[in-house]
Amino acid sequence: MPYPLTSDAIEATIQGLGTTFPSLCKVTPLPNQTNSVGVPPRAYSFLKIGKGASAGRPAMLVVAGLHAREWAPPDSVLTFAGKLLQAYSGGTDFTIPTYTDAGGTAHGPVVTSAAIVKSIIENMDIYLLPLANPDGRAFSMASVANESWRKNRSPLPVPIDPSFIGVDLNRNFDIAWDFDVYYSAAAAAEPNFAAHTKKDPSSDVYIGPTTAFSEKETLNVKWLLDNFPITFFMDLHSWTQIVMYPWAIETLQTTDPSKNFKNPVWDHNRDGVLGNAYQEYFPNGAPQALLNRHTTMVVAIRDTIKDATGANYSVGPSLQLYPCTGTSDDYAFSRQFLSAAAPTMSSFSIEFGDITENFRPSVAQFPKVEREVHAALIVFAGYVGIWKGFVSAVLGSAPKSSNLCFIATAVFGTAEHEDVRFLQHLRDRAKEHHRVRPFMLRFEAVYYRLGPKAAAVLQQHEWMRRMFRKFVLAPFIKLLRSVLDD
């Protein structure tokens, strides 16, 4: 494959996918063309993948290339799309091939069954914006001197100095954008924050002039979120092996809803990383268990990446090392709190690669990073497509927690039942054990294929659920509990 692609070639690939798989994907131009120094406005497109139009089907949005110099994720998103569409069209598994690391250890292959691929394509919609900053990428590829360009190429009010060009798009989203209002003066001046979010237009982390969404590129991401029923969001970056969930703006807490970014009482008083008097609210109550859902997902992504290449990604909230405002994943997540009618949103960002691969992996290094992107996206899509879509379809309503205990959920009537949670916990613990994990993964591959069908049958027959509960599941759980108590 011809990595790395120019911005023009990325757009051509998107168009090519639409032409090659016309019944499975649709290419649509974004409403805002770029506005960049010295080049004409550029039209660019996003891709929607999915077959069918069932009501309430889940949708995920994947964004890559917000930062110009991070070359690997956009190409990887394209090859992910191509592989997924090829697998579905051919009725084959989605296979991430074996990777042999520098030490000679082989990792993978990671195989996602054709049945799961089918569920992904037929039960959900995948929106892909492979290159969110096309003029920035084109500039960074134009010469070695431009290699570290991070921002877009937007002309600023004082365009005399070349360093006064462009905005860090991942600081331009409308979440605590004006950090001088959001934080206390001390928190805004905290060195770790101040180094990564700035109002200085010559900075690499310049938030933009006048207002959030000052840039065409961020407006296009907002437009996607405004106009499509997206409830799962992921933003791809390079390069430090971290799978993250909100918040980047503050440390988080799950108990006090009044401490939230909208509450003006806290304006100019939030303490950032200087203390815990203020922490941003992250709901985790039933039925959504939103924080649990996020932590479950990032662990699943981390584990799948490790299976694929052996890389040890870490997980955690985006604030892990430093706070910043105006990021895409925080914004996507925050939208659910803006109105009572807003749907629940799950939001993630991932930094792919490591320092050896850096922002621009070599041609030889790209296949490793590409596998890691594919691993993250396939497990993410599988989670959305199977859990939210497939199970919804066969059970008639979405399960209420992040588990895939199809049969137990059908039998007990709710995923919140104590015994379902017990089984889910046991499964998760078993998967953490290195000797049991391979067995569990093989078991799940079969179970995820057959479990929903069995659950659908059980769902139709009350007598069958009662019998199964009384004579199979209840004794089994009792046995497990007694063994574990011993």
Binding site: S143, T240, E351, V363
Partner: protein, 90 residues
């Protein structure tokens, strides 16, 4: 372009590095190893490397300036204007 390095150590010390003017911490590169221990990437000349080490932090050279330049040149030589083609394998 100075050497590409990683800096590992306690968070407080890493966060105090902003006064070393020839040290360029690369944005969005922090990785927590545990509650207090982190690793970040940076570009640094020999003076900056010594200053970082003097604060009890561990410096590891990932690529020398020459290696980095060579790698950058190599990847620029590979930039492609040929789209991916997924049509032939279906």
């Amino acid at each position: 372009m100075p050497d590409l390095i990683t800096i590992q150590g306690d968070l407080t010390s890493i966060r105090s590095l902003t006064d070393i003017t020839t040290l360029q911490i690369i944005d969005e590169t922090g990785k927590m190893l545990d509650a207090n221990n982190a690793i970040v990437g940076a570009f640094a000349d020999s003076t900056a490397e010594a200053a970082v080490q003097a604060r009890g932090l561990t410096v590891t050279v990932i690529k020398t300036e020459a290696q980095y330049d060579a790698d950058v040149q190599a990847i620029y030589a590979e930039i492609s204007n040929t789209p991916y083609d997924f049509g032939g394998n279906v």
